[in-house]
Symmetry: D2
Subunit: 358 residues, 4 copies
C-alpha cells in the first residue's frame, strides 16, 4: 500500500505548478490518508536528499502564486550529472544515490511534475524500479500525448496583454511593433497570442518566413491607411534558408539579442518605418495562473495522486477529450506537438488577413 509519496517539479518554471502540488498534497492527505514529501530543486533534491514533509498548511494560499514552492531547475540530470574535472566537464550517473535516498526517506511513490526532459528521467527511474507517475508541464503547449498543458493559457494572457498595450501606442505613432515571445520548437504562444491580439504578422518555427513578405504586408497596410503594424515572433522562428537564432549559442548560453531584434532591424531598413522591439522573456513564465490553468493543474494533481493510490505506475497523466487519463510513459516521452501549417488555426488566421511571412 502506498503511504508516503514524494513530489518534485523539474524543468522550466510554469504557472500552475503550485496548484498541482497543492492538489496532490490536499487530496493525498484528506482523501487517501497519505503523507506527502516535497523534494526540492527538481531531481537535484533527489540526489542531495532535500526532502521536507508537506502538510495541509504548507500548501495553503499557494494556489494563486506563480513559481513553485519546491524550486526547480533544468539542470541536475541524475543519469548525467555534470562534474568539473580540471578544465573539463564529465557526466556521472548518480541515479543509484537517488534510489537510495528514495528508500531511506521511506517513499512508496514519486510524482514527477515536469516537461519532456523530466518525464524521460522519471521513465528511467521507473525502469530502475521506482514507482513513478508523471504530470506533464510546459508553457509551450507542445507535448504530444496531452491536448492542453497548464501554463499555456497564462503565458498567452501575458503575451496578449502585451500586444494590446503595443496596439494603442503603435496606432498613435504609426510604428511597427515587434514582440518576441517564447517558443523554440513550437509556435503555439506566438500563434495563440497573435490571433488573440490581432497581430498583423505571426512568425513561428514551423513556417520559415521571408523578410520581404513581412515587409510587403506592412507596406500594404500603409497603402490601406493603416499606418501601424504588430509583428509577433516566436524565439525559434527563422528566415527561410536560415536557422533558428537561439541555436547559434555559445558555451550553452542563449545569445543575447534574438530574432526579435533582427526582424525589427530588417523591417526598419526595408520599409523606413520606425520599428520598436519588446522581448517578453521570462515574464511569460511568471505571475498568477489564469483560472483555466489553475483548474487544469488541480485536475492533474488529484488525478495523479488517485493513480498513485491505485498503484498504477509508469504512466503520465494526460488530458484527452477533456478527461485526465493515465498514458504509459513510453508513449509520451520524445517528440513535440508542432503547429500544423495547414491546420484550422493557421488557415483561419490567414482568412482574416494575418500574414505568416510567406
Amino acid at each position: 500500500m502506498v503511504r508516503r509519496v514524494g513530489v518534485l517539479t523539474g524543468g522550466g518554471d510554469c504557472p500552475g505548478l503550485n496548484a498541482v502540488i497543492r492538489a496532490i498534497t490536499k487530496a493525498g492527505i484528506m482523501e487517501h490518508g497519505m503523507e506527502i514529501v516535497g523534494i526540492e530543486n527538481g531531481f537535484g533534491g533527489l540526489i542531495h536528499g532535500l526532502f521536507r514533509e508537506l502538510k495541509s498548511r504548507d500548501v495553503s494560499g499557494i494556489l494563486p502564486r506563480g513559481g513553485t514552492i519546491l524550486g526547480t531547475t533544468n539542470r541536475d540530470n541524475p543519469f548525467a550529472y555534470p562534474v568539473e574535472k580540471g578544465d573539463e566537464v564529465v557526466y556521472e550517473d548518480r541515479s543509484d544515490e537517488c534510489m537510495e535516498n528514495f528508500r531511506r526517506a521511506a517513499l512508496d511513490a514519486l510524482i514527477v511534475i515536469g516537461g519532456d526532459g523530466s518525464q524521460s528521467i522519471g521513465y528511467r527511474f521507473y525502469q530502475k524500479g521506482m514507482p513513478v507517475v508523471g504530470v506533464p508541464k510546459t508553457i509551450d503547449n507542445d507535448l504530444l500525448a496531452t491536448d492542453v498543458t497548464f501554463g499555456y493559457e497564462s503565458a498567452l494572457l501575458t503575451a496578449t496583454e502585451a500586444i494590446d498595450k503595443l496596439h494603442t501606442t503603435a496606432e498613435s505613432h504609426h510604428r511597427v511593433m515587434v514582440l518576441e515571445v517564447m517558443g523554440r520548437e513550437a509556435g503555439w504562444i506566438a500563434l495563440g497570442a497573435g490571433i488573440a491580439g490581432g497581430a498583423d504578422v505571426i512568425l513561428i518555427p514551423e513556417i520559415p518566413f521571408k523578410v520581404d513578405r513581412v515587409c510587403k504586408k506592412i507596406l500594404q497596410r500603409v497603402e490601406e491607411k493603416k499606418n501601424f503594424s504588430i509583428v509577433v515572433v516566436a524565439e525559434g522562428a527563422y528566415p527561410e534558408g536560415g536557422s533558428p537564432v537561439y541555436k547559434t549559442t555559445f558555451d550553452g548560453r542563449k545569445k543575447l539579442g534574438g530574432i526579435g531584434n533582427w526582424v525589427a532591424e530588417e523591417i526598419e531598413m526595408e520599409t523606413g518605418i520606425e520599428t520598436r522591439v519588446t522581448v517578453l522573456g521570462h515574464l511569460q513564465r511568471g505571475g498568477t495562473p489564469v483560472p483555466f490553468d489553475r483548474i487544469l493543474a488541480t485536475r492533474y494533481g488529484v488525478a495523479a495522486i488517485n493513480e498513485v493510490a491505485k498503484g498504477n505506475f509508469g504512466v503520465v497523466m494526460c488530458l484527452q477529450n477533456d478527461r485526465v487519463v493515465p498514458i504509459p510513459m513510453e508513449k509520451v516521452v520524445g517528440g513535440n506537438k508542432l503547429v500544423d501549417p495547414n491546420g484550422e488555426l493557421v488557415t483561419y488566421a490567414k482568412e482574416i488577413g494575418t500574414s505568416f511571412g510567406i
Copy 2:
C-alpha cells in the same frame, strides 16, 4: 451565391462578441468577397430595419473590447413582440416584417450570435425560409451541443480575481467572505471560480445545500486554526427544500438582494463570525475577453462565415473535440448542460476538501 450577409447579436452581453463580429467581417470581405451588414440591437434591429454595412475599418481595434458594437437586448422577440394595449401587454407576431426587411436589404443570409433564446428565434426564421447560421453564446457555459462557449473563461477570470482579493482580506481579518456569481440554472461559473480560487464552500443550483452543513465546514476550519472561509454562491443556488431566490421575482424584475446576502446572514447568525458579501453582478459580462475566448470567438466567426459561403444553413456552429462543426439547429435548441454532481470536477473538488453544503 451568397453576396450579402447580415449579422446580429442577441441576448445577454458576453466577452468575445466583438471578436466574432470582427472575424465574420474580415473573413467575409477578404476571403469570400462578401458584403457584411450589421443589424443593431439584436432581433429588434431586424424588426425596425436598423442595418449598417460593416467595413474592415469598422471592426478594426474591437478585438479586445467587451460588449458588442452592434448592441444587444434580451427582449424584442419578433414572434412574440410585446405591445401595450391599455393596461395590458399583448404579444404580436412581427416576423413577417423581419422577412420583408431582410429581403429589402438584399441579404442572402443571416448569422445569429446568441444564446438558447436567440437560436430558437433563429431556427423559426430558418423554418420560414431565411438562410440562417447560428453562433452559440453564453458566459454560463451551459449549452448542450458545444463543449465550451466563449465568454466563460473571461467570466471565470473576473470571479477568480475577486476570490483572490477576498482571500487576502479574509485571512487578515478572520472573516467569512461570500461571493455571489452568475449562474441561474447551471453552476459552472461558481464551480470553476470556486476551484480556481480555492473556495472552501461552493453552492450551485445543481446541488441544493443545507445551511448547517455550510456552517459546520466553516466552524471545522476554525478548529483547524483556519480563521477565515470563502464561500462562492451561484445566484441560482438554493437551500434544500427551498427554491431559487431569483425565481421569486416581481413584475419580471430580479428581486434585489439575492441568495448571497441570505447565505451571509445565515452564516453570521449561526456561527457568530463576521461575514461580508460581494455581489459581482454584471462585472462578469464586461471587460476584455481573455485570449482563450478571443481565439475561440474568432474560430466561431470564421467557421460561421465559411459555412455561409458553402450555403449550409439551419445549423449552429459547435465546438466538439476541439473542432468547430455545424450541427443542425433542432439538435441544439432547448435544454441546459448542467454540472454533474457526480462528475470529475465536483468529485475532485471534494477530494481537496471543498464543501458543497451537503
Copy 3:
C-alpha cells in the same frame, strides 16, 4: 537606546500594510541594528501577548501581497475590551496588561499602523508612558493630517476597473449600472473612481442627493441618444432629508442590501430603464497594492523606524507636501477629511457633465 521595536496593524484591512511591515523590519534590522517584534491581530495581540520576532526572511516576498501578515481586527480596544457578563456586554480596561506585556517582551517602542481608531488607542498608550509612533492607514483617504494615505489608489483601481467593465456591458444593453463602493463618512473612493471611470452620476455622503435629479440626468442622456448610464454610489451616500443607510444597523451589524440596491430600485421604477447593481464590498480592501501605494507605504515604514531610532515618540508620520514628517498625535486624532462640495475635483467633474444628484 531603542533596541527592540514592536509593530502591529489595527483596524480594517488595507493594501500596503505588508509593505510597511517589510520596510520597518528591513530598515530596523539593516540600518539600525534593531530587533523587530510582530504583534498579531492588532491590539488584541498586545492584550494576549501574541508576539513573534520578525527576521528579514519573514518579510521576504510580502511586498506585493494584500492583507497583513500580522493579522488585524477592528475590535479589541484594550481600553474598552468587551466581555460578556450574562446577557450583557461590559467593557473592561485591559491597558495595564498591555503595558505589562510590552515590558515583559523587553520592547523599547511600538509602531501602530492603523486608522483613526487605532491611532487614538496608540495615543492613550503614549499618554500612559509607552513610546509610540503611528503610521496612518485607511483606504478611504479621509485622514486630516496627511495628504494621501496608502491603500486609496489600490481601492480606486479595483473600483475603476469595475466601472470599465460595467461600461462595456451597459453600452451594449442600454442599461443603468449602479456600483456601490466603500466610503461611509467620506466619498473619496466614489469621487475618484467616478471621475476615473467616467461615471455619469456620483453620489457621496458630503452631497445629499435627490433621486429625481439622478433620474433626470439619466433621461437626459437617453434624449441625447446615450442609452446607458453609470451611477457610482458611496455606501454612506443618502437622499436629501434621509440618513445614511449604513447607520440604520442592528446589533452593530451592517444591514445587508445597502444604498446601492435602494438607488437602483428607485431608478428602475422612475425611469423604466433596466437597472443592475454591483456591490464591490471587501474587494476594495484586497489584492496587491498598486506601485503608488507600495512606494508610499515603504516610505512611511522607513520614516517611522527612523523616527523611532531618533527617540521621537508621540507622533504620527504624515505625508505633507510630498515629505513624510512626524506630527504630534493630538493633532492627528479625531475628525475626517471630507470631500469639499465646492472644491476643484467636484467642480471639474461638474464641468465635464457629471451629476451629483443635485
Copy 4:
C-alpha cells in the same frame, strides 16, 4: 472672446492623453460653449491642415483607452521641418504656414499637450502671436515645473507587474532577472518600479554604477541563501566612466540590444549565475491609464480649457502642491527634473537594502 479652440498631442505616446482630450472637449463644449477642433499627428497636422471638429460623442468612451485619438509624432517640428534635398536633409521653417492654417481654421487658441520638445515649439508659436496654453506630458516624470505628470503611474504599474512576475520565476529557478525599463535622462521609472517591486539592484542614469558592486550584491544574497536577484535598469543607465548606451546610436536609430543585455552578460560572466533579460520597451507607453493618471489628466484638461476661457495664454498648466496652476512658458521649458542621489527615495531604498551599484 475665445470661440474655437484647437488641440494637438505631440511627442511620445503616454497613458492619459485621451483623458485630457476628453476633458478639454467636454468642458469646452458644455461649460464654455466653445467649439473644439482636433489637430492630427501633432504639429504635423498644423502644417498639413489636418483638422477635424471634436463633438461630445467623439470623446465618448476614450477615457480608459491608451494612445491618443489624434495621433502623435515626435518628428515634424514646424520650425525645423526636415526635407530631403538630393542626398542631404535640410531643415525648413514652415511655421508661417501653421499660422496661416490656424487662422484659416478660425481658431482662437491652441492647446498643446506634449513634453518638453512640444512645449518649446508651442512657446515659439506663442511668441509669433498664437494664443497657446500647454499641458505637460511625459511618462518619465522628469519635467521641472510640475510635481507629477500623468502617465508615470501607469508606466510604473506595467513595470512593477513585470517585476512581480519575474520574482516568482526567479525564486523558483535561482536566477538573476534583469529588467530594462524606460528613462534616458532620468531614472524615475526604474527607481519607482524598483522600490515598488522590491528589486535588489536599481541602476539609473543619475548614479553611474560599477558592475563589480552589482555582482557583489548578488553574491552576498547567495551567501544569505537568497538564490535569486532582480535587477532593474533604466535604459539610460551606464557604468561609471562609460556613457549611456542609447547615445551611441547610428543614423538616429536606437542601437538594438541595450544596456539591459549588456548588464546581464556581465553578471552572468562574473557570477556564473544564469541571468535572463526582459526589455519592456513600448509596453510602458501603452495600455489603459491607472485611475491616478486618469484623474490627473482630467484635471489638466479642465484647467487648461478654463485658462483658455480666461484668455490667459503663454502658460503651461502645472501641478504644484496639488493644485493645477498656470506657469509662464519660459519658466517651464528646458531642463530635466532628475532623481536626487541623496534624496528621500534613494536614501530610503538603501536603508532597506537596495543596491544602486555603487
